[in-house]
Symmetry: C2
Subunit: 128 residues, 2 copies
DNA sequence: AGCGAGCTTTACGTTAACGTAAAGTAGCCG
DNA sequence: CGGCTACTTTACGTTAACGTAAAGCTCGCT
């Protein structure tokens, strides 16, 4: 028998409210089982939550996150599906590489600004 | 005299509506001058718009983007401000490096999935 | 003078992603 | 049994980031 989790437990682990976790269920992002009326989450649900959080850190909408997550559940027996799948992956990769470039640009600028500042600061410190 | 731009011109260039451009002005992100009643945008406004778009691609809110943009306008004469400034830069860098890591993780997975798919696909192609 | 194109302000509408409050249930503890 | 705690459903509220519609200026053309 595999480990299970309660809703409060998972919410705390990921730093969100239980409302949020239920909301993601409404949106079809996770599908916990029930034990009586209570929700019971599997390790798989937990992995999905982790993926959701990662997506959110990147500014994806829940719909986009759903599309990404569901990639893992594609049936690899149909050739047309496989081709579509590869197409989607390509699109996603393009966007992500753009984002990565954006980040590297900003990081470079930040580093430049930082150097400039520390230098200015040490100048002032010395003069005094 | 330096180049100027109309609102429709800039909107088209960045793929947004004029409403959006005016909205950013309301939020204090850009401050075009007026020529009679009409808005006139400088190259500086254009640069800011470019920065805004980059921020949006990274999933930042307009408030966060404003904070970032205003970093460029800090007065470098006050030591306390400089120190604060360096602090903000540090925070930003941490977040960005996290995002970058997220992206690299997903990209790695995408590549794995892609290889797996193309391989599956060529197998099916050969068997037929 | 009339008119259309392009701009303006004003203001109400919309969507996503939850927050928050109300009211009910199920299990355990003294 | 009463009460607490943790969960549940239902439903209305909120914020960000615009969309969209209405009504009015101004310039240039015919």
């Amino acid at each position: 028998m595999t480990e299970t989790f309660g809703i409060a437990e998972l919410a705390k682990e990921f730093g969100v409210t239980t409302r949020t976790v239920r909301f993601y269920e409404d949106k079809g992002l996770i599908s916990p089982t029930r034990e009586g009326q209570r929700r019971v989450y599997s390790p798989r649900d937990r992995v999905r939550l982790r993926l959701i959080m990662r997506g959110k850190r990147l500014g994806l909408t829940l719909d986009e996150i759903a599309e990404l997550i569901n990639l893992y559940d594609v049936d690899p027996s149909e050739v047309t599906q496989l081709k579509q799948f590869i197409g989607v992956i390509h699109e996603r990769k393009t966007v992500l590489e753009g984002q990565k470039q954006d980040i590297e640009d900003i990081l470079a600028e930040m580093n430049r600004l930082e150097r400039q500042c520390t230098q200015l600061l040490s100048q002032k410190q010395n003069k005094k």
